[in-house]
């Protein structure tokens, strides 16, 4: 029975408008009254809570209709040019419903946490202005009813990411990281842009509601055009969602405030690529090559990033590579055609990774204060300076352990169900296309490494002897309730999140999958369901691998043998290779960045522009005419007779030319 009080869905605009309004108010406060922190907190957090409420209402309204097609609300004409008609329109369907709940829900918790984390920062108002603006663009991204509107959100979140990574911009390393994020993302956005050109050329529209129904008629399955479209779209995804080869900006993005890492660089923005593939399921379904690329790159990234995470000392860098790796899982899922599984993992990952980042934030917060109190200049994020923190911050430690178990895939926590779904789907697809067995194997190997590096992080941070320093140790204590509160809430979600989509194998109703069915029904030709025996064997193998990784870490790692960062010897051999991230940044620098700069400066500017065009052609012409002028001036002899002769010759020449 419909609830009488539900607002009409034409009010969908309210959901993104709230954080936009918050951003405008906080931006004005940042410029006019940066010290008005109470007002900033009230506005900044308030709009998020309201946006969550509005989103929840919208989703309830949607649930009552449960339409088979998205509900589209057009607001104004944006680009009306001939047969191109792009309106500023939002759409709500089951997929964007999940996304807006995650974005506003997790977003609200992270905003609350930020109130504590950023309390003493002079840029407090600016911070909330950016963070609110980010939520606005993220909601535009997931609610946009056409590719261009989505692109507004897509580049908008990149802008906010840029602004927030470089939030403490007076350090060059932070500003560099922000710029790198933007430029690398732009390479991906180029892919998105070209995909739009192709889509418009071949379907005559850019609205989801027009393109997707036409897709199977406009593109022959497996044809070159649809494959090109999907690959260009996926190039966009590798930028935004930090996959090979464009992942390198995300670890550097950890220079931003930690709540930003939690919200933008773990829970929401970086999952936009996964959302894009799921949204464009009707296109990917037509391109086996495109889908296989998504799955393969996802599996490879999952494994590759996990290896790097093994040897990082910066607590946030471990989590950053972990995020890259987990995003790889999501792409493995959506590339397999298991859209629901990919979105499921996106959701649970938002819970437990936000929890891990915020937990690391409260650790860094404590470390920072301790070093600040004693005026020490040690690295507050290096795990070698931590150790034994569980004694000082029991809540944070306990909650992060929950999240660690979840990401490792220990039942019955949220991560277990979602990761298991993806691996199961990949394995099942192997029966149709054997390449997927390889992808599944890579995913399983990554799961082993995940369990290992996360346990390593927990052991080094929270257990064994403390290495912070004797005077600093007295200053270590738990974060204030405004920070631990959101952690607890995320902890609850991490424990219970799996209930969203318990598969029939465990007697569940796979509710998320059914909910998403109207959107994801277009998937690839389904692979045959695995027999219950195979399914149980897969589950057992996944759990076994996770347990193996954790036990292995406990057995192999010796927290008591660690020394503080400044005393630590440099790593050698394979360890050094992993610590240095396989030298990929150095490689890109050598084969892309430096050659382009060299070409531009030394060749294009100094030789082509200055010497060739300006020197030879332009000033050369000028010099030549001066020389000609000099010759002419020699003819000015002052003798009338010479002039008469020249005059007559000239006239004859002109007449001759005209007459002929």
């Amino acid at each position: 029975m419909p609830l009488p009080l539900l607002p009409p869905l034409t009010l969908l605009w309210v959901v993104p408008a709230l954080p936009l309004a918050g951003s405008v108010v906080n931006g004005a406060l940042a410029l006019a009254a940066p010290r008005a922190k109470r007002a900033v907190s009230l506005v900044g957090v308030g709009v998020l809570v309201l946006a969550f409420a509005a989103a929840a209402l919208a989703v309830v309204a949607l649930a009552q209709l449960h339409p088979s097609a998205p509900l589209v609300v057009r607001y104004w004409e944006w680009l009306p040019v001939g047969d191109l008609q792009v309106a500023f329109a939002l759409q709500l369907d089951q997929l964007s419903a999940v996304m807006i709940l995650v974005v506003t829900g997790v977003g609200a918790l992270i905003h609350v946490f930020s109130v504590g984390y950023m309390r003493g920062d002079p840029g407090y108002a600016r911070y909330f202005a950016y963070l609110n603006l980010f939520v606005f663009f993220m909601l535009t991204l997931v609610l946009g009813a056409s590719f261009p509107v989505m692109f507004v959100g897509w580049e908008g979140v990149g802008l906010c990411s840029y602004l927030l990574i470089g939030f403490w911009f007076t350090e060059k390393i932070n500003a560099d990281a922000g710029k790198k994020a933007f430029v690398v993302n732009r390479i991906g956005d180029f892919g998105f842009l070209v995909a739009m050109l192709l889509i418009f050329r071949h379907t005559g529209s850019l609205d989801f509601g027009a393109v997707f129904p036409k897709a199977s008629a406009a593109f022959p399955a497996g044809g070159p055009v649809v494959t090109a479209i999907t690959l260009f779209l996926f190039l966009g995804c590798t930028g935004k969602s930090a996959q090979i080869p464009l992942y390198t900006w995300l670890p550097d993005a950890m220079q931003g405030p930690t709540p930003v890492s939690a919200l933008i660089h773990a829970a929401t923005m970086v999952t936009a690529g996964v959302y894009l593939v799921a949204r464009c399921g009707p296109l990917f379904a037509l391109s086996p090559v495109g889908s296989a690329t998504v799955a393969g790159v996802g599996a490879l990234t999952a494994l590759f990033a996990a290896t790097i995470a093994l040897k990082q000392w910066d607590i946030k860098r471990v989590l950053a590579y972990s995020t890259v790796s987990q995003l790889g899982y999501m792409f493995l899922g959506v590339g397999t055609g298991a859209y629901a599984a990919g979105i499921f993992h996106l959701t649970t990952h938002a819970f437990f990774k936000a929890l891990l980042f915020l937990g690391s934030g409260s650790v860094i917060h404590a470390m920072h204060r301790a070093y600040h109190a004693t005026h020490a200049h040690e690295d507050a994020q290096d795990m070698r300076n931590m150790g034994g923190l569980a004694r000082y911050m029991p809540w944070t430690a306990a909650l992060m352990w929950i999240a660690t178990l979840a990401i490792a895939g220990i039942p019955p926590l949220a991560g277990f169900f979602s990761k298991d779904e993806i691996l199961g789907a990949a394995f099942a697809r192997g029966a149709v296309r054997p390449a997927w067995y390889v992808f599944w194997g890579m995913g399983l190997a990554a799961a082993l490494l995940t369990a290992f590096y996360m346990t390593r992080l927990m052991l080094y941070t929270f257990h064994g002897p403390n290495r912070t320093g004797d005077r600093e140790r007295e200053q270590l204590h738990e974060a204030p309730p405004v920070m631990t509160g959101p952690l607890v809430a995320l902890g609850v979600l991490t424990v219970l999140g799996g209930a969203l989509n318990i598969p029939p194998l465990f007697g569940g109703g796979a509710r998320l999958e059914h909910w998403l069915a109207p959107v994801t029904d277009v998937a690839l030709t389904p692979a045959p369901d695995a027999s219950p025996a195979t399914a149980w064997a897969l589950v057992a193998s996944a759990v076994l691998v996770a347990a193996l990784g954790m036990v292995g870490a406990f057995q192999l790692l010796r927290p008591e043998a660690l020394v503080p960062a400044r005393l630590a010897p440099p790593a050698r051999g394979l360890g050094r290779l992993l610590w240095k991230k396989w030298y990929v940044d150095e490689l890109y620098d050598a084969i892309v960045v430096r050659p382009v700069l060299w070409l531009s400066r030394e060749v294009l500017w100094k030789i082509v522009d200055k010497r060739l065009v300006d020197g030879l052609l332009v000033n050369g012409t000028a010099a030549a005419s001066r020389a000609l002028g000099w010759v002419g001036s020699r003819l000015q002899t002052g003798e009338v007779g010479v002039y008469v002769v020249l005059f007559v010759v000239g006239v004859l020449a002109v007449v001759g030319a005209v007459v002929r």
Partner: protein, 502 residues
Amino acid sequence: MYSQAVLTALLGWPVVAAAGVLLVPERWAKHVALAASLVEFVISVPLWWTFQPAAGMQFVLDLPWIPAWGIRYTVGVDGISLFMVLLTTFLVPLSVLGSYAYITTRQRGFYALMLVLTSGMIGVFVSLDLFLFYVMWEVMLIPMYFIIGVWGGERRLYAAIKFFIYTFFGSLLMLVAILVLVLRVGQQTGLYSFSYAYLTAHLGGLGPAAFWLFGAFFLAFAIKVPMFPFHTWLPDAHVEAPTAGSVILAGVLLKMGTYGFLRFALPLFPSVALHPAIQAGIVTLALIGIVYGGLVAMVQPDFKKLIAYSSVAHLGFVMLGIWALTLQSVQGALLVMINHGISTGALFFLAGMLYERRHSRLIDAFGGIAKVVPLLAAALTIVSLSSIGLPGTNGFVGEFLVLLGAFPTYPRAAIVAATGVIVAAMYLLPALQRVIYNPLDKPENEQLRDLSPREIAVLVPLLACIVWIGVYPAPILRRMEPAAKNLVQSVRLDAATFTATR
């Protein structure tokens, strides 16, 4: 009454006002000029509402001027020139206000020249008689020459002369071409007329001469755009010009080149312009402009030079849009012309404001100044984002339409042009970082003063346009559409008929 007189008023008023500026005391000059340019803007504003998109050429006034030679005073606007006129009247008051602190010597002369320049620019955009057009083209050249040469930076004379000779060379060729065109058409039809309408209606049978005539027009306009490799006068002129000079140069003067292509070169010589080889050659030059301009901009140590080279890239998009000749690409090109005027104008204002504070144009003279001048930093950030085409700002909609429109005609070229979005981020964001972010490590920068109310008044209208056109360009697009559609159809049709009859 308004519809007949408005364009003539827009043409005449600045000259009258310039005389007034010369008569008032020196310290009043700028205020009088500001008032005069605001009046000019107010006169132009009703054009926006009274303009009838579907009605073709309007606000026409057609009077005999030199009847013996078939020269008339014919002015009018359509959806193509309307926005160039509005852009001009919009930018001039801002340029005057933005010069208040920059111009300290010979103020009367400077502001009088600015106003004369305004007349010339309006004249170029409203002339429907080729002789009148040529006169206006030269009229606007001379004030700009003096603005650069008298109030410019250290190498102002070199830059001014280079600017003058380069443009003058092109325009003389154009004059010859205009004369030959009129004679040829006159010989065939028995009526010698410089009228744009007459000439475009009687184009058949130019024969091979069309190729050379097009070439002359092409050179004149390509220099003005500027297209690679005719662009090197631009960095010099921009760097040396005073702020207002740079703003007008980038905002309006460069558009005369692309406007010239749209109004004259394409409709007069469709068969040449659409000759596959010529089309391919020009598109290639446009692409070189986009990529090469961006890459060279990336390595400039001088902020104004960086903006100058970025103009080469932006105008490359315009040229691509024009030559792809589809409805979307042409409208996109027109939109990029407007946007470039707004965004690059704003960038030059900001570069000028930085220069007034530190007397340096070098990017590395700054660093970390977002801490001391947050308003200026915020404005510079927004304008930079618009210049690199962030969706939601004006920069995106123009370039996006160009790409969408060019893709069906030139798929590979559109993809190459799309890499321009990467290059744009590569030249502008590092510069932005080196100016407003990074450590505040130069003591001179610690006491910079933030934007004054006057400077805010200059920037706010531009920032408002950046957001407005980014979010709701439909009113502009709707006003352009019939003219753009007509242009695309008639040029394509004419080209087809001429090629067939040849």
